[in-house]
């Protein structure tokens, strides 16, 4: 008992002195923030017979990057991620595979009638210098719709994402994209599931540029909150955009 009391007393003094010297204070320091910048989504379309033609060679899937030269992406009917946390597209909704390059550029043309579609890419791996971003599954749920006698899609015509690199704090990151003007007033959502938690944000597609009488696009921006957590391995990144 005497030894324990001596031990307790000694430890108390050590801690007291260390505190007196002004060590520490405040909250936990954040790890340095590092980001991966992706600007790779665009879509060029033509009007077909009751179908919209998404052109190969120029159109790009948003927010993806691969280590292989050619990657197979699956296309499904309907929203395959009604519950983005747990759902997977049903095999009965499968339409076709299509090929994309490592930067997401389509190698196969897509001809789609009016409807909701889910494009699923697996094993996203983007490396910029010594920073990297990985996602086990990335999906884009989009819509082909008729407006003003023409077919439109909610696929991005311009996409920009500042993803935190693995191990970096999520704050200051964002996902922004612009799509067809006819989608203004529609809904968009972002769901991210990673090792340290989930992010689930919903926004409305707004006119772009803002505060003008002649907007050219519909725009949406998902900006991270201040603070953490740090980004762990990403299991799912699901972006959705629907018509009004």
């Amino acid at each position: 008992m005497r030894i324990l009391r001596t031990l307790v007393g000694a430890l108390f003094m050590v801690v007291l002195v260390a505190m007196w010297n002004g060590c520490g204070g405040g909250g936990a320091a954040a790890p340095p923030s590092q980001y991966i910048l992706l600007q790779n989504g665009k879509v060029e379309v033509e009007q077909g017979e009751g179908r919209i033609i998404i052109k190969a060679g120029v159109s790009q899937l948003p927010g993806v990057g691969f280590t292989q030269d050619v990657v197979i992406v699956q296309l499904y009917q309907r929203d395959g991620f009604q519950n983005p946390r747990s759902d997977l597209p049903s095999p009965s909704d499968f339409i076709q595979d299509f090929r994309v390059r490592r930067d997401g550029t389509l190698l196969d043309e897509l001809r789609l009638p009016v409807g909701v579609y889910t494009a699923v890419a697996e094993n996203i791996h983007v490396r910029q210098g010594n920073k990297e971003f990985r996602s086990g599954l990335t999906a884009f749920v989009f819509e082909v719709f008729k407006s003003g006698g023409r077919l439109h899609t909610t696929l991005p015509v311009a996409f920009e994402a500042k993803f935190p690199a693995l191990g970096s704090v999520i704050e200051d990151s964002y996902v922004r994209f612009r799509t067809d003007l006819a989608a203004v007033g529609g809904r968009s959502s972002l769901f991210l599931q990673h090792r340290n938690g989930t992010v689930d944000m919903h926004r409305q597609l707004e006119p772009w540029p803002p505060d003008t009488n002649n907007p050219s696009h519909a725009n949406v921006s998902f900006d991270a909150l201040r603070g953490g957590p740090t980004l762990g391995d990403v299991q799912r990144l699901i972006l959705k955009a629907f018509k009004p």
């Binding site: 007291l16 909250g27 936990a28 090792r195 992010v199 953490g228 957590p229 740090t230 762990g232």
Partner: protein, 265 residues
């Protein structure tokens, strides 16, 4: 579900065992904690069950649920946790005891429901080992505690070392006074030292039943683990922002109201 059945089975088994114990008794308590910091509020409720296994060992199980509300009242951070502890008297000499406690707290996912969206944070697991030296003399029970807690949540790890001095009056009167002074060394990327003080008053409602009010303050914020609100503060390893970080980054305190009942089983 399976884990819930296991806990229930364990509880029934232990309750059966406790029925035949010659001394001690089953103790149940329920408590509420509340705090307000710059317009942000915290509410925490906890139920605890203490089951003596033999004259030297007891098993403790507890459930916690908390909600922290932001300045914008619709902003809310909530979670729950359950914990299991075993306490054993390692040595006993007259009025002195040396007690070892091993405790595991399993939190559930923390959910921040704010205007910008719904954000969740991976559930923390906190393993705590503490050594308590207790001495009873002249109407007071005094104790000193050494504590080590390890927090794991997703990719984050944190450690807390603590030392505390505690005293409680044990006179056979309706009123009893308790106080506690503690100092924690909190390690998560950097090391931070955080003192904590607590003063309480308890009143005997009936034989075996007491009500207690306690005020606890942490002039430099609460540590990640090692305190009764660790199920909340463990989420600070993820820096979830204003609602939770207030309890770690600045002077903070809370009030506790507790009712304890002990049966003579």
């Amino acid at each position: 579900m399976r884990r819930g059945c296991l806990v229930t089975a364990l509880f029934l088994l232990l309750s059966g065992g406790v029925w035949g114990q010659p001394s001690g008794g089953v103790q149940v308590s329920t408590l509420w904690r509340g705090a307000e910091i710059e317009g942000r509020t915290l509410w925490l409720s906890e139920q605890t069950l203490i089951l003596p296994l033999d004259t030297r060992t007891e098993l403790q199980v507890g459930w916690q649920r908390f909600a922290a509300k932001g300045r914008v009242r619709t902003n809310r951070f909530s979670s729950s946790a359950r914990w299991l502890a075993v306490e054993r008297v390692m040595r006993e000499e007259g009025d002195r005891q040396l007690v070892l406690q091993v405790r595991r707290l399993d939190g559930s996912e923390g959910t921040a429901d704010v205007a910008e969206g719904l954000f969740t944070y991976t559930a923390p697991r906190i393993d705590t080992t503490s050594l308590l030296s207790v001495q009873r003399s002249r109407g007071w029970t005094t104790g000193s505690r050494l504590l080590y807690a390890q927090v794991r949540s997703g990719t984050e790890r944190a450690e807390t070392y603590g030392i505390s001095l505690e005293a409680a009056s044990t006179r056979a009167s309706h009123w009893q006074v308790q106080w506690q002074a503690a100092l924690y060394a909190d390690r998560h990327r950097t090391t931070t030292y955080r003192p904590m003080l607590g003063v309480g008053l308890s009143y005997r409602l009936a034989p075996g039943a007491r009500a207690q009010v306690q005020a606890t303050v942490a002039p430099r914020g609460f540590p990640v683990a090692g305190t009764p609100i660790e199920a909340l503060t463990a989420f600070t390893v993820h820096r979830p922002g204003g609602l939770v970080e207030s309890w770690r980054e600045r002077a903070a305190g809370y009030l506790t109201f507790q009712i304890t009942a002990q049966t003579g089983l």
